[in-house]
Structure formats: structure tokens, C-alpha cells
Symmetry: C2
């Protein structure tokens, strides 16, 4: 596996692949890799001739009071995991290379970037969209792989990719979960043993919501309340949002007529977790 | 010459060129072509194996009270000029194809997109940056050609291209002028015969500014006043701005220590004209 830090070198390597007619799969990450990332890598390896994994903790998608400084960084383990998954390139640019002095261009995805995570974390999706575009331009992949755990992110990336005509196919892979249903996330390592037990409540709440819809409930408020009540039973959990939303617009629905997505953001102690579940009525 | 209207077909054609190892030059325009565009086409033909000219009057770069509806459109003459210049492709997408329903992604270039033209025309450069990015993604040219007449636009496009890592080389070609110095522009056809005579004053003012700097003037206010006074002699002319600015940041300078650019926006009757001149002290 090649470890590349320079943008120029990354472009050169990708150009070479293209000249040889090889397709490029791309898995952009912020590192602190876990098996959720592993599953994206395996999906990419199955589908593409070569795979590039990027690790870049993108400062512009963190708010001023968020966890950029303490976001987990674990280059050694990350490289080992990529090697095990037989990745071709691990691309690790520096923030100074991605945002050189004078950098002043931002991509904004409208409405869908402003609700839910976008409302709680202003500027977050502009940061995400901009860095994804920059990485797409450097790697110019044929296919890029994102985890469904960050559902709104996949909607934003899809919207941007279509709107700007990036010739990149976006593949969204199912969320990988721990035994108790907790969605794998780099931030899970912030949880204490006690909090870790509590964290299972997100998936339980989503399951409860799905169950209610399965039983014929069509009132979104009732489904939302069922999820909320279950989470409220955990004193260490603080709900940021629990909604039933349209799959594409992410607008909250009042009546469940077609497929919807249940979306949760919950704080467990100091750690903020998100999860989601698409449900067909 | 191929005339292509579909985005998909344009991508396919460009992919084919790349596969054959041919470089692609790109001249994005809003049509109503004149010899300023002609010189960009010739520069592109000299430098690249194949050249694509696009004609797209981009609605998002016009303000609500601007001249989008009456912007000159002249497809037949435009196609004839492109044929004469032996262009390979004339790409004419529709607004519905470039901005399909639900389109909601914008690129914003910060500070340099907010001064001068950006201050008088809010949103203008966000519209320009977004459409240029979209066209770049469709055509994926090796080299793109822009006229220096729209100086600030070239600064914005350069900034965006660098910031987003577009692997496109930007070439800026010198302004092509009429005999009296008037910069060629599609909007010149709006001028009455009388206004046309008056319009020569923009270049005269720029020349006057350059002359003053050549004589040793280092006070930018004095240079600006010399340009302004000359324009004020024309009762039909109304100055929107006349400035001496830094070449890269476009910030107004007070003392002329290095290369600067003189920038003018002047209304002649209902028609708004811009022009500029880089000057070395």
C-alpha cells in the first residue's frame, strides 16, 4: 500500500491509473477507522480496480465549540487496517495543503444542508461539501463510498454531485453496528463503559419507531414520541432531535405515506451520537 | 463542427477525446460572440488538440433588475463564427439541463467576489463560479480561456480553480479593442450611435490613469481622480466605480508601489460597461 501525503503526487497516481484504464474507488474518511469504514473499503475493492482511502480530519466542518481538537487520531492503526483491507493508496494530506493561505471558496448546499445536523451545526455541511469536492477533484474517482450512518451527509453529497455534474457514482453502504445495535462511529471511543451501555438506546429507539410504523401507525408525531419516550428513560441521554423525515428533502413529515427516515441525534454525557433508519410503511 | 445540446453527450464526446489522448481547450461564453471571443478561440486552437466553445446565458449570474431577458442572443451568427474559427464542438445546454429541478448547490468565492462588480451585483460571482464549475465538470478541459476584459471574473475563476483543485489550466487573453479603444463586449450592441462615440471614454480614462502613473504619480487617489474627471466630461456617462486596486486581492490601494489594475464601471445611457488596465509603476 502506498501512503501519499502530497496532493500533486495523489493526482499523478490517479492519472496513471486512468491512463491504464483502471477504475478508481474512493473512500473519504476522517480516520479513527473502524469496521464501518472496513465495509466501505471492501465494497470499493469489490467494485473497482483500485481503491484510495483518504484520512483528513477536516477543520472546516467543525464548529468553534466542537470536538476538532480532540477528534480521535490514530494513524498507525488506521494504516494497519487499510493494509489489511489491501487498499492501494492511503492519502493523508495536511490541512495546509488542502486549505493553503488565501483559500476562500466554499460550496453551499441549500435547504438540505440547513436542517437537522445543519441547524445544530451551522456551516457543517458547507465544510463537508467543500472538502468532498476538493478530494473528488484530486482523486477524480469513478465511484465514491459513504456510510449510511451519516445519512444527511449522503443526501448532501448526492445533491452536490448531481448539481455540479461530478462524474462520480456515489455508493451508500449500510450502517455497521455493534452487537447491541450501536452504530459504529469514531466518536464511540469517547464513551465511558457506563455511557457505552446507555448508547444502545439510539438503535432501540429507532427499532421502536420502526415497530410502531410496522403496526400501522401513520402519525409521525406518535412515532417520534415513542422514540423520544424510550430515550428519556435513560437519564444520561439528552435528545437533540428525533424526527420522521422525507428521505430526500429531509423535511419532517406529519403523515407517513411513503418511505421515511427516522433520524436521531442524542448526547450521551459529552459525546454526541447520531443514527438513522429508513422505514417503509 | 459538432453542435451538442445534451450534457450527457458532451461528457461522452470529451471522454472520447481523453481516451484518444487529445487535449481539450475550453472557451465558455454567453454567446453574442465578437472578435474578443474569436481571439480566445484562436488561442485555444493554437494550444490544444480540440476546442469546445460553450454558449450559455447563465441566469444565476444576473440580478433581478439586470439584463438577463434582453441579453443579446444570436445563435446563427455565433455558430457561423465558431465554424469559421474551426472549433470542434459548440456546446449549448439549456438552463433546465444545467439547473434541473431541485438544484440547490452554490459556490461562493469570498472576499474577491464581494468587492467592485460583486458589490454592485450581489450574487453575480457566486453565479459565475457555480456555472464555471458545472461546465468544467462536464467538459473536463485541460485548458480554459477567459478574456481579460472581465478582470475580476478571471481573478474569481483562478481562485476557485486553485481552491477546489480543478486540474484545469486557466489562460487569460488580452482584451480585444475597437479602433477607439472600446473593449469588445456583447453589450456594446446596446449602444446607440451617439452612445457608441461616448463609450470610447472608458479606454481614454484608463490611458490617462496609466499616463499619470508613468509620469511618476504614486498617489492612487490622484490617479483615480484623473480618470474620474475625464469621464465626467461626458454628460451621458455615469461612473459606478473607478479604482486603483491590487492585482490579486482587488482591494483598493492608496499608494502605488507595485503593479496595480485600474478598474472602471460606467453606465452609458442604459448600458453598463466595464474595462480595466493593469499598470506597472
Amino acid at each position: 500500500m502506498k501512503i501519499i501525503k502530497s496532493i500533486r503526487q495523489m493526482q499523478k497516481w490517479a492519472d496513471g491509473q486512468r491512463r491504464r484504464g483502471k477504475s478508481i474507488g474512493f473512500v473519504p474518511t476522517m480516520g479513527a477507522l473502524h469496521d464501518g469504514h472496513g465495509s466501505l473499503m471492501r465494497a470499493a475493492a469489490r467494485r473497482c480496480d483500485s481503491v484510495v482511502v483518504s484520512i483528513f480530519v477536516n477543520p472546516t466542518q467543525f464548529g468553534p465549540n466542537e470536538d476538532y481538537a480532540r477528534y480521535p487520531r490514530d494513524a498507525e492503526n488506521d494504516a494497519a487496517l487499510c493494509r489489511r483491507e489491501k487498499m492501494d493508496v492511503l492519502f493523508m494530506p495536511t490541512a495546509e495543503a488542502v486549505y493553503p493561505e488565501g483559500h476562500d471558496t466554499k460550496i453551499r448546499v441549500g435547504r438540505i444542508g440547513e436542517v437537522l445536523e445543519g441547524a445544530v451545526r451551522p456551516g457543517h455541511f458547507s465544510g463537508v461539501a467543500t472538502v468532498v469536492a476538493i478530494l473528488f477533484e484530486i482523486v477524480r474517482p469513478d465511484v465514491a463510498f459513504f456510510g449510511q450512518k451519516d445519512y444527511q451527509q449522503t443526501v448532501v453529497v448526492n445533491r452536490m454531485t448531481r448539481d455540479l455534474n461530478f462524474p462520480v457514482k456515489i455508493v451508500v453502504s449500510p450502517t455497521v453496528r455493534e452487537k447491541d445495535g450501536l452504530a459504529m462511529s469514531s466518536r464511540n471511543r469517547f464513551l465511558s463503559a457506563e455511557e457505552r451501555k446507555t448508547a444502545g438506546v439510539l438503535f432501540k429507539a429507532l427499532q421502536k419507531g420502526k415497530e410502531r410504523i410496522g403496526q400501522g401507525e401513520r402519525d409521525a408525531a406518535a412515532v417520534r414520541d415513542a422514540m423520544t419516550l424510550l430515550i428519556l428513560e435513560e437519564p444520561a441521554a439528552r435528545i437533540e432531535y428525533a424526527v420522521v423525515a422525507n428521505l430526500e428533502t429531509l423535511e419532517e413529515v406529519s403523515e407517513i405515506k411513503e418511505r421515511v427516515v427516522l433520524l436521531l441525534a442524542v448526547r450521551i454525557g459529552r459525546t454526541r451520537l447520531i443514527d438513522n433508519l429508513p422505514v417503509r410503511p
